[in-house]
């Protein structure tokens, strides 16, 4: 049985923040997530994509953002990536309320939210090259349903 996945690319335009949330929510919807699980996933997608747009690409729509999502057992894995500015000091960046752009009214809570809403988070960032955030969340819904209902539809 092949597990499902998706890979999505779009430019660093703020209108794509809601698009990215809906796309990820639609992808996981077949796993029958709870409303809380769905809100958590939408929120972390919004945080990571917004960061790539503002911090990674400084709002330059020539920048491209990639989202990959897949299912591993009962976990949903999300990878959100940009080829933007990158992060110099990761420890500082992850601190609650820290923001490098207070003049843009950033709250500095993006990474804190990602850490709290997901089961695991891994950040790889290279200054001048980009940032890649890998996050996982265990879902309490019945993932196995998916393969079964798919098999049924070939008849």
């Amino acid at each position: 049985m092949k597990n499902n996945y998706m890979k999505l690319k779009f430019p660093a335009l703020s209108e794509n923040e809601s698009f990215a949330r809906v796309a990820v929510a639609a992808f996981v919807s077949r796993l029958d997530p709870t409303l809380d699980e769905l809100t958590d996933l939408k929120t972390v997608v919004s945080e990571a994509v917004t960061n790539s747009i503002i911090h990674g690409y400084d709002n330059n729509p020539d920048g491209e953002i990639t989202i990959a999502a897949w299912v591993e057992g009962t976990e949903v894995i999300l990878v959100i990536e940009d080829q933007g500015r990158g992060i110099e000091d990761l420890d500082q960046a992850r601190q609650p309320l820290y923001t490098s752009r207070p003049e843009l009214e950033r709250s500095g809570m993006g990474f804190t939210i990602m850490e709290n809403f997901m089961d695991s988070i891994d950040i790889v960032s290279v200054p001048g090259q980009g940032t890649k955030i890998t996050m996982a969340k265990r879902m309490n819904s019945h993932l196995e349903l998916t393969d079964e209902s798919n098999a049924a539809s070939t008849g």
Binding site: E17, D36, T43
Partner: protein
Amino acid sequence: MSLQMEFEHRSKALIVRLKGELDHHTASTVKDRMEEAIKRSNCRNVVLSMKDLVFMDSSGLGVILGRYKLIADLGGKMVVCDVNPAVYRLFQLSGMFKIVSMADNERSAISSLGVVS
């Protein structure tokens, strides 16, 4: 979806109702329209109703905090009301409740202003 706003000028407070999704894309609209409404209003207090807010992320925290500072500078108070569990969690994580007070609904938000002012 996106974001819609509704303003109601009362004697004790300006009521601002947020509907839809508050993220980085819609935050600038919230900023601009609230500043304009606060300038036009006679009262310094603001009640921010989140009854019909279906999504908010940390960009929403930022824009609310920014408006809180403006109102505090003008000597006013800000009360948020009808906060759903998801938004409540964001407020709690960020320590927002230490500075912005919360009420169950618009009526109790307004009466709380009556007591404190």
